[in-house]
């Protein structure tokens, strides 16, 4: 069994030639009127909710004024002024680095933990314990970050939090988690693993389930121990899956998780030095300062880097091992 993110196939037409309207376009519509009528709502949906905002990125190049024509798009053209404003500010390197650093932590710890847990679940023999721990570790995936944030207070608040009570029980000094910026990258990683790592094992588990038993038997006959079988059979066969998951997440490496960070720490300025990411910054610039132009410029920067990273990571994967490429 081959695991793949999903398989977009575009018919026999290559994407580039597909857009060219050929003679017979109207005839094709007349041939299958009901089929084209059925896709119409969906096509309009993508046009309105996905393509109009892409066109709206033109706001990144104007000095946005809400009273200008075309929903502000007709404001004074300023070229790359909004970009210059952002990239010369003191903030950009900090928030870009934070975004990159946190995402790298999330991706690497996530993949390692998922792999470890999947291998572990696969090796477990006590079926009851296995099923129960699997159920428990999948559950947090369905709990929203806002509720996780309520839990986070129970765990990390200074006076009532369990963690500090635990620290005190061992004679340590209490930590003001919500006022100490340096602990948050670690806490965010932990909370994210808590929420997502269990459910993330599903894809690895399915890959492991697809490995032929004969390979394991052959390894056993050759004298491999359990650890040996994991090391020389299971892990190498998880390589492709890992590469695909990695490519999929690398596209979002400059997308900060606003949903998580805003829900967990809100606008707390004391924690900004380590937790302020591009998305929280853009959100603030938009909501608090009404800075549309710069926010759109940063959004465009994110979209383009995301696009380049996905296509680039895929090209590299293809070169190394064509099995691992996504498209």
């Amino acid at each position: 069994m081959r695991v793949k993110a999903f398989t977009p196939t575009f018919g026999q037409d290559s994407p580039a030639s597909a857009f060219r309207v050929r003679p017979g376009f109207l005839r094709e519509l007349a041939l299958h009127p009901s089929l084209y009528l059925m896709v119409l709502p969906g096509v309009l949906f993508f046009l309105i909710f996905n393509y109009l905002p892409m066109a709206g990125l033109a706001i990144a190049f104007v000095d946005y004024s809400p009273i200008a024509p075309f929903f502000g798009l007709g404001s004074r053209f300023v070229g790359f002024e909004n970009f210059r404003f952002f990239f010369t500010s003191n903030d950009w390197s900090r928030i870009t680095l934070n975004t990159f650093y946190l995402n790298t932590l999330f991706i690497s710890t996530g993949l390692i933990t998922q792999m470890l847990l999947a291998v572990g679940l696969n090796e477990m023999r006590a079926q009851g314990v296995k099923r129960l721990s699997q159920t428990l570790m999948f559950l947090p995936n369905f709990i929203s970050w806002t509720v996780v944030s309520v839990f986070s207070i129970a765990l990390f608040s200074t006076n009532e939090g369990l963690t500090n009570k635990f620290i005190m029980a061992f004679g340590g000094k209490t930590v003001n988690f919500y006022q100490t910026a340096s602990v948050w990258p670690g806490l965010l990683v932990a909370l994210r693993l808590w929420k997502g790592a269990g459910f993330g094992t599903v894809i690895y588990l399915s890959t492991i389930a697809g490995i032929s038993q004969e390979v394991y038997e052959a390894a056993t006959i050759d004298g491999a121990s359990r650890m040996g079988r994991i090391r020389y059979v299971t892990l190498p066969l998880l390589k492709t899956t890992t590469a695909i998951l990695l490519i999929m997440s690398i596209g979002g490496i400059f997308n900060g998780d606003l949903g998580m960070i805003y829900a967990l720490i809100g606008d707390n300025p004391m924690l900004r030095s380590t937790t302020d990411v591009i998305d929280t910054y853009v959100y603030r610039a938009l909501r608090l300062n009404n800075d549309y132009g710069m926010s759109a410029a940063v959004g465009l920067f994110q979209s383009i880097t995301g696009f380049v990273f996905v296509v680039g990571a895929n090209a590299i994967a293809k070169k190394l091992d064509s099995e691992s490429a996504l498209f």
């Binding site: 089929l35 926010s295 940063v298």
Partner: protein, 297 residues
């Protein structure tokens, strides 16, 4: 069967312990919050969060249901947006995916690419905000919680790939019997697509149920808040509910202050209640869903 070596048995034991511990860790915060929501607020502040109830106290739950309409109303809003949202998602996704699965449609490749490109590139926060508020005028309109999330390329391809696995001869014979494309879609394709509809519907339901980001951006009327956004508000402003409690509820407390932490915990527990209770029964559909999406046929 051959007897396993000591090392092998130790390996199994080690992995069992790791996985069981991780499972317990996953349960722990939920348990601590549940216990705290049933505890007396004074006890909570005095001795912190516990792993067992010290003084059983239902005050918080009583207050969020009888002291203010906010929680019940947010429940109503959440159920409404979730059910309408899931319905819209399934309808729109299936309707668009079905023609794209048919070989006879010549422009299906072009249309699929049109959808696929939205996964690679997007406009980001600002253009979406302007689109929603100024072009579509959906500010303070519950439709903003339902429509924009109703269709995405990922679900579309899941659905299309599923339709593609259905035997084409079914549709062919229906066509010979005189059935039109709509008829084939409704009477043949949809009934056969129940498993994938269930999966997409479940994931969509989770998304709608947990929605708060769009509320943060587009809704500022209190009577349209979703449950998750209400919790968000309580996080930022701990007296958000208690400051507007009705006088009877206040009086019934005597001179005890309103348990603000307890109210926040109880609201959170009430909001995840349906998920936690239904989840064990739905688990296999969720897992099935991921696998349908990830296995290359």
């Amino acid at each position: 069967m051959r007897k396993e070596s000591l090392v092998d048995r130790a390996t199994v034991a080690g992995f069992t312990i790791i996985c069981a511990l991780f499972g317990l860790m996953c349960l722990m915060p939920l348990w601590v919050a549940l216990v705290a929501s049933f505890s007396n607020e004074y006890a909570l502040i005095r001795s912190g969060y516990q792993i067992w109830v010290n003084q059983l106290d239902f005050t918080s739950y009583r207050l969020i249901f009888s002291g203010s309409d906010d929680v019940l109303r947010a429940y109503g809003v959440t159920i409404l947006t979730t059910s309408l949202g899931v319905g819209t998602t399934l309808f729109l996704t299936a309707l668009t995916a079905f023609p794209l699965s048919l070989r006879s449609m010549r422009y299906r490749g072009a249309i699929s690419f049109f959808a696929y490109f939205t996964m690679l590139f997007n406009g980001g926060l600002v253009p979406n905000y302007i689109l929603t508020v100024r072009f579509l005028h959906l500010k303070n309109n519950l439709l903003v919680l339902i429509i924009p999330a109703a269709l995405n390329a990922y679900n579309l391809f899941l659905m299309r790939n599923y339709f593609q696995t259905l035997p084409e001869s079914l549709a062919e014979s229906a066509k010979i019997d005189g059935a039109g494309d709509f008829r084939i879609f409704r009477s043949i394709a949809l009934p056969l697509a129940k498993p994938i509809l269930a999966t997409i519907g479940l994931f969509a339901a989770m998304g709608y149920w947990n929605e708060w980001y769009r509320v943060l951006l587009y809704i500022d009327r209190r009577n349209m808040f979703t449950l998750q956004f209400l919790i968000m508000k309580l996080q930022q402003q701990v007296d958000f509910l208690s400051s507007s409690m009705n006088p009877q509820a206040r009086q019934s407390l005597g001179n005890i202050p309103i348990p603000t932490i307890g109210i926040r915990l109880a609201t959170a527990m009430v909001s995840i209640g349906p998920i936690v209770l239904l989840y064990p029964f739905l688990q296999r559909y969720f897992i099935g869903g991921i696998l349908i999406g990830s296995v290359k046929g």
